[in-house]
């Protein structure tokens, strides 16, 4: 994928709302307006990276090389009880987390 030009103009309302939908954050109209102003500055802040030559440079995920994917032994061990697990649930029914209606959830 080619690098898009950094966005430095004010974002459109649709651009802000599209990102907000992706991360499931409701925004007031005032918040949308503020983010339209602020996000281009934040994007410009990180766009200095585009000027750095990274051809043939590997990406760093974990900063300490000795650590690789860790697997634990597949053996049973004590875990939290059902009561502890559900102790912070906003809504529960019997031994379950209760959630709002999921089908026909407004996503279209």
């Amino acid at each position: 994928m080619t690098n898009p030009a950094p966005k430095t103009d004010r974002l459109t309302e649709n651009e802000v709302r599209r990102v907000a939908t992706l991360c499931r954050i409701g925004l007031t109209d005032e918040e949308v307006e503020r983010l339209r102003d602020e996000m281009p500055g934040l994007i410009a802040e990180v766009s200095v990276l585009q000027a750095i030559d990274t051809s043939n440079v590997e990406a760093t995920g974990h900063a300490v090389e000795e650590v690789h994917t860790v697997m634990r032994d597949d053996t049973p061990r004590p875990a939290m009880t059902v009561e502890e697990t559900l102790s912070n649930a906003p809504r529960r029914q019997d031994d379950y987390f209760r959630v709002p209606q999921v089908m026909d959830d407004g996503l279209g």
């Binding site: 994928m1 690098n3 898009p4 802000v16 990102v19 907000a20 992706l22 991360c23 499931r24 954050i25 409701g26 925004l27 007031t28 918040e31 983010l35 602020e38 996000m39 500055g41 934040l42 994007i43 802040e45 990180v46 766009s47 200095v48 990276l49 585009q50 750095i52 990274t54 440079v57 590997e58 990406a59 760093t60 995920g61 974990h62 900063a63 300490v64 000795e66 650590v67 994917t69 860790v70 634990r72 939290m80 502890e84 697990t85 102790s87 912070n88 649930a89 906003p90 809504r91 987390f97 959630v99 709002p100 209606q101 999921v102 026909d104 959830d105 407004g106 996503l107």
Partner: protein, 481 residues
């Protein structure tokens, strides 16, 4: 007693000059008297403190007390404390009572530590001034109109004001070292993976690390002895052997090769801070260190790398706040989508939303390679640059912060706020340890000297910082509060 070091409190406890309950009560009384003006605590835990103090005293009386036994402390409110509300300074977790302890919480409890309460912080550790706390700002004990730094503003202010002899903080881009500098205390960010993060509420998982804030370098070493080490519950934990961080502490800096990073003494750094730092470097030289100047040009890109990686990783980590399993939940939403959007609209503050938005933008279709992957590649260049530097020097020195503590409300532009972290962020990007130690005052406000070392060089950093501290008296000066 409230400005004694951990070592001094421990010696007094073991000599039976004071009891653990007396120490806890003295601190709780001072918190009641002083903290309304500082705001370093989000919760105070007197019942637990008394319970832990009694258990610690029994250990001491039985002759099995150690360095932290019976000594009180504070834990930043992003680390899980079983049965004690852990809010991350967010409305999202206002009523969250963890059913488990973070590994570091358990490690301190096992060492006989006494929890005084939970430390105020920027919401989800996102901030450099502690102003994003959903509950209250923290005021710098040296000047109550100024910020303590962030995000570990509560821990730094508590230690500086004698409201706890030490505290646990977390450091993702400077959140231990920058507030330590602003408040005139010691702050150590260990090597990535050295201290377990199990039970640390995740912000940016490739960067987050837990470490101590204290009034002396020796105290930081004592706390590291309790919290550092491999933890099978943290898949990023380094399988390293446990070491004694006080070993070699007093051996001095004769022959130590110290590199002065030229990038952090010019543009963007308050000239008075640069001068104060250079005076501190001259002190290290007079103690026998071999000082050379060097350049780390790629490290200046660390801030941009950080402001891609940290928001991106936070947008993924904070996806878990869905109002279903724990945390705030909007009542009576008609469907799941509305419930999610409304829960996150109300539960998260402005800074957290802004970072999730930026991270989501950077990771969204068409932008991933340009931002996230690019930032990870530049990260590799920064790591290599540090590796090259550490082939020639043992430690690097920079100022910890470009300015002294600024006034509450003074910085509104997020990009300007980010520049506070310019000296501290490179260590997180490279995963290396860094320590900030008090090195003077500018305009009556504390200045910090930052020492950086290669992976797992904590003992060298502590030795150098200790030598400097013992040759100066900055650590014996306390705010008039």
């Amino acid at each position: 007693m409230h400005y004694s070091s951990v070592r001094q409190m421990s010696d007094a406890l073991l000599a039976k000059d004071v009891s653990s309950a007396e120490l806890a009560d003295a601190h709780l009384a001072r918190i009641s008297a002083v903290d309304p003006r500082v705001g370093a605590y989000l919760a105070i835990t007197p019942e637990l403190a008394h319970e832990q103090a009694a258990a610690a005293q029994a250990q001491i009386d039985a002759g099995s007390g150690a360095a932290l036994t019976g000594v009180p402390m504070q834990i930043k409110d992003n680390m899980a404390t079983r049965g004690v509300t852990t809010t991350c300074a967010s409305l999202m977790l206002e009523n969250f009572v963890p059913p488990y302890d973070a590994t570091v919480t358990r490690a301190l409890a096992d060492a006989g530590a006494v929890l005084l309460g939970k430390g105020n912080m920027d919401e989800y550790a996102m901030g450099s001034s502690n102003e994003t706390s959903a509950y209250k700002p923290v005021h710098n004990p040296w000047d109550l109109e100024r910020v303590p730094g962030g995000s570990s503003g509560g821990p730094a202010a508590a230690v500086a004001a004698g409201l706890a002899p030490y505290a646990l903080g977390s450091d993702t881009g400077g959140s231990i070292r920058q507030p330590a500098s602003f408040c005139g205390v010691v702050g150590l960010k260990p090597t990535y993976g050295l201290v377990s993060r199990y039970g640390l509420i995740a912000f940016a998982s490739s960067l987050d690390q837990v470490g101590p804030l204290s009034r002396t370098v020796e105290d930081a070493a004592l706390v590291m002895n309790a919290i550092a080490g491999y933890d099978p519950l943290d898949s990023t934990s380094i399988p390293a052997d446990r070491v004694d961080y006080t070993q070699g502490l007093t051996e001095g800096v004769r022959g130590l090769r110290v590199g002065v990073v030229s990038e952090y003494f010019g543009e963007g750094i308050d000239p008075r801070i640069a001068e104060t730092t250079r005076t501190a470097i001259a002190e290290l030289e007079s103690l026998g260190a071999v000082v050379t100047d060097l350049s780390l040009p790629n490290s200046l890109a660390a801030l941009a790398v950080y402001y891609v990686l940290a928001p991106s990783e936070c947008s993924a980590n904070l996806a878990r706040y869905d109002g279903v399993k724990f945390g705030y939940s909007t009542p009576d939403a008609p469907n799941m989508m509305t419930a999610l959007e409304s829960t996150r609209e109300v539960g998260f503050g402005t800074e957290v939303k802004r970072r999730i938005m930026m991270g989501t933008y950077a990771l969204s279709a068409g932008y991933y390679d340009a931002y996230y992957k690019k930032a990870q590649q530049v990260r590799t260049l920064i790591r290599r640059e540090f590796d090259t530097a550490f082939a020639n020097v043992d430690v690097l020195v920079t100022p910890t912060t470009p300015t002294t503590a600024f006034k509450l409300g003074e910085i509104q532009d997020p990009v300007v706020m980010h520049a506070n972290d310019v000296c501290t962020v490179p260590a997180n990007i490279a995963g290396i340890p860094g320590i900030s130690v008090p090195c003077g005052f500018v305009g009556g406000l504390p200045v910090g000297l930052q020492l950086l070392g290669p992976h797992l060089s904590e003992r060298t950093l502590l030795r150098a910082a200790h030598a400097y501290e013992q040759a100066t008296d900055w650590h014996t000066t306390h705010p008039a509060i």
